[in-house]
């Protein structure tokens, strides 16, 4: 680690938090210019995150030293709060920045109503700030708070169009979130009561496989599963994501859910690592398989474009669950999971954005009546298809690399002698087919012979941003090595 980096990195981390907060507060206080503040803020945050990642990667290849901890207010743990940056959080920060920037640009076109703009931007910037803080948090209670920031702003964003479906979805989302958060909080309390510290690293050194930890693990995991819409606790997701405005759906499916999953991963890699048992892995894996099948079937059934995409999220998160038993056999597999989540987030966000464009143009998103618009907007359909291909896990996209690595891990399990590994392999391999089926449902009408009707005009942002993001998702395949190497800079993780 060069001295300059050592000096700058902590400041840059705190600065990122500060910057996102400043932007959010500014937009809240000055709603009339919220969109301008938002745009500038989005650019600034993205630039900052990229700079941060450059600093981080330059800091040196030593994984143990790679985690940078920043004591807020000068108070070290256990007294104070520590921000925590390592490879894992860095990756997710970059992901957030990319999707966030795309969403911001898209929203410039999508949220054009003056009033709506004033509602949307502050909430969205708070959400972004919340995500940044979530990924940078190294403290159990602080995680709860940031999770709340994220959840609440997400709920508000879901509701902000005020349609019946949106409100109903938002309320369901809100209640589920509260249930999940409280469950998480209860777990935090249990841990604190047992060990008297909240800092994750300190907790990690103190936990062993005791009943309190077990209970805390159950509470926190279940709560986060609820928040991450992991099967069978996914039912809130489709109404919420399906009825939210497109940029919001993109962020929800791409980032917010991923954030909850990130927490699960982080906890099980650190604090709860001693608790994991094969049976636990198998249960979670089974849930993942069920999620894959169920989500895909529902996506094949759903009649509305965005519902399909929302259910696709349920299905795709099944992969993340399936990865748990793999991680028990091959601890290194966690990086694969994260990479998969990253790629999924990119692709899913662009699918949602594309769907939003189509919905905006057609005035609805009923798949059966969408053919005309689909035919008239090849660019958007192309984006949809390209991102869809990434979701299917076909080359040359990032999804392919992710699927490859997952499959590799799965087959590794089988080769290591695990019988149930065959199931994981089948699920990983077969999920792509189901994905292909529902993606095809969305794309195929564009190829039907029939009328063309471009529908309502859309702004250029809405036309090009989905395509750009889809391209990023596709080209993420090239960033595979970089991402995995970055993730390797996570201390404590195998």
């Amino acid at each position: 680690m060069t001295p300059a980096n050592a000096e700058w990195l902590p400041a840059a981390i705190a600065g990122l938090v500060a910057l996102s907060l400043v932007v959010a507060v500014l937009a809240t206080a000055w709603p009339r210019q919220a969109h301008r503040v938002g745009l500038l803020g989005a650019l600034a945050i993205t630039a900052w995150v990229l700079g941060l990642s450059a600093l981080f990667l330059n800091a040196g290849p030593d994984p143990e030293a790679a985690a940078t901890r920043v004591a807020l207010g000068g108070w070290e743990a256990p007294l104070g709060l520590m921000l925590h940056l390592d490879g894992l959080s860095m990756t997710l920060l970059v992901l957030t920045a990319v999707v966030g920037l795309a969403t911001s640009l898209y929203s410039l076109g999508y949220v054009h109503d003056r009033i709506e703009r004033r509602q949307f931007w502050p909430l969205w910037l708070w959400l972004w700030a919340g995500l940044n803080m979530l990924f940078l948090s190294g403290d159990a209670f602080n995680l709860y708070i940031t999770l709340e920031v994220v959840s609440l702003s997400a709920v508000a964003l879901v509701a902000f169009t005020g349609t019946a479906a949106a409100v109903s979805g938002a309320v369901r989302y809100l209640l589920v979130n509260i249930l999940g958060s409280l469950s998480f909080l209860m777990g935090v309390v249990l841990l604190f009561g047992e060990h008297g510290v909240l800092d994750l690293l300190l907790l990690e050194t103190r936990t062993e496989a005791g009943p309190t930890e077990r209970m805390a693990a159950v509470l926190m995991t279940a709560g986060l599963m609820l928040k991450a819409a992991l099967f069978p606790l996914h039912v809130w997701l489709a109404p919420a994501h399906g009825s939210a405005p497109a940029p919001v759906s993109a962020v929800l499916s791409g980032l917010v859910v991923t954030g909850s999953f990130y927490l699960i991963l982080r906890l099980w890699m650190g604090v709860f690592a001693p608790l994991a048992t094969p049976a636990f892995g198998i249960l979670v894996g089974m849930l993942g398989v069920a999620a894959l099948v169920w989500g895909s079937l529902q996506a094949l059934r759903a009649g509305r474009l965005k519902s399909i995409v929302a259910y696709s999220t349920v299905a795709q998160f099944g992969y993340l669950l399936v990865a748990f038993p793999l991680m028990l056999v091959d601890p290194g597999a966690w990086r694969v999971v994260v990479f998969f989540a990253v790629v999924h987030a990119l692709a899913k966000a662009s699918v949602f954005l594309a769907a939003g464009t189509l919905q905006h143009a057609a005035g609805h998103d009923r798949l059966a009546d969408l053919g005309d618009v689909l035919r008239a907007r090849p660019r958007t359909v192309f984006a949809l298809g390209l991102a869809g291909v990434s979701l299917m896990g076909l080359p040359f996209t990032g999804g392919f690399i992710a699927k490859y690595l997952l499959l590799e891990a799965g087959l590794g399990t089988v080769l290591a002698g695990s019988v149930i590994g065959v199931l994981w392999v089948l699920a990983i391999a077969g999920g792509g087919l189901l994905a292909a089926a529902y993606i095809l449902r969305m794309v195929a009408p564009a190829f039907h012979r029939g009328h063309e009707d471009a529908g309502e005009a859309v702004s250029p942002w809405m036309d090009w941003v989905p395509l750009g993001l889809a391209t990023v998702a596709a080209l993420a395949g090239l960033a595979g090595t970089l991402t995995l190497n970055t993730l390797a800079l996570t201390p404590g993780a195998p």
Binding site: F382, L394, Y404, G430, L433, N485
Partner: protein, 506 residues
Amino acid sequence: MDGGWLLLAILFSSLGPGIAIFFLPEHRQGLRTALNLGGAGTKLALVGVLLAGVLRGDEYRFSLPLMPGIDLVLAADALSLLFASLSAVLWFVTTVYAIGYLEGSPRRSRFFGFFSLCVSATVGIALSGNLITFLIFYEILTLATWPLVVHRGTPAALRAGRLYLAYTLTSGLVLFTAIVWLTLLAGAEGFTPGGYLDGLAETHATTLQILFVLLMIGFGVKAALVPLHSWLPIAMVAPAPVSALLHAVAVVKAGAFGIIRVVNDVYGTELAIELGLTAGLLVVAAITIVYGSIQALRTDDLKQRLAFSTISQVSYIILGVALAGPLGIIGGLVHLVHQGITKITLFFCAGNFAETLGIHRISELDGVGRRMPLTMLAFTLGALGMIGLPPLAGFVTKWHLGLGALEAGMPWVLGVLVLSSLLNAAYFLPPVIRGWLGERREPWHEPLQAHAGPTRFETHWMLLFPVVFTAALGLLVGLFAGLGLSPLGWVSLIVRRDYSLPEFGL
């Protein structure tokens, strides 16, 4: 990384124009044509340069890390160039043809965009340096072809597209799994003549056998091996240039090429024989050859007959590879080229008949030779070539395959060849005879003239030129098979290098 830029340039010479075309407004016809032909021409020239370089003995290689330990590798060896030059040449021709064929039809930007993408993928497959790269381009090919198959947008086309995707994606998945597995076992090696799995033969024999079956299922769908072939004849609803490309250059060939790569450069023929893998493949190929021919006999639709014929003919390639001897492999490899040239001629002709005179069925062909002599001549050359009559391309193949079978000590394969030739004749001669010797009583109705006005030649020149060109090519590669630069000469070079045999020519 020496000269890797050349490989990239070859790849991008179609990819770049393809993407540009995709975003081109529908009415920019001139620019689109220029892009199309420019890309095709550039590719042709670059492949020529590459060809010369490889003949000189230069190494071309490009690699890009994808995942830790796994690279995307493009490399040019003699075998890859064989396929690459085939696709470059035929792409050029098909582009000309497609421009003529689709004149005035809607959504050409989309069509040509995917068309170019398709060819890029094919060239990528040709130039792949390892299995993973191969897989990547293979799957891209699947995806890029689908829009072409459903291009017409009719319910039948969409159903065909669905079936196509169902088959190819499933097989892709099987392939994917197999390749990951193989890479886990043996690492992400590049293609090596003679294979790179020798070290595993003793410890993992059964696994290798299973993997081989999986790989064959994976490639077999595209190569239309028999239980996996159903998509191919149904995909005939696609426009003629697409069928031509599908059958002659891209999809089907990709499958066959994959099998060649696996047998020759992954397992190595020795290992494959040792594990008893080629015998099974041989049987499957033989069954496919006969089955495809019988099915072709049963249909009256011209394109469908051609499609079934493809099923049968592509298995010749696999047959040759499965014979696993130098002569057999020569037969198989050279058929890769020969079948491409011949089949593309036939599809062009079928397209010409359909486009110019609205003829789709063999029973309607009576007397067409008088109205469209050049096309009919080309069709005849193609058909006779498929039957395997000298001096056309197909004969050279059949000759080497037959000798290869004998060399491998499997005279029964000769029986298959005989039977297949008979069946080929049975389904290819009737259209030829009808065309030349049949009588047409009523006047032709001419859809092309109806919407595009009278043409100088028997049909639009952009439809005629490719036909004549490929037919002539089919004749020349057979007639001058003994030349060093002919496909046969090139293939002999490949096999000689691979087998380090000084002389075995006949």
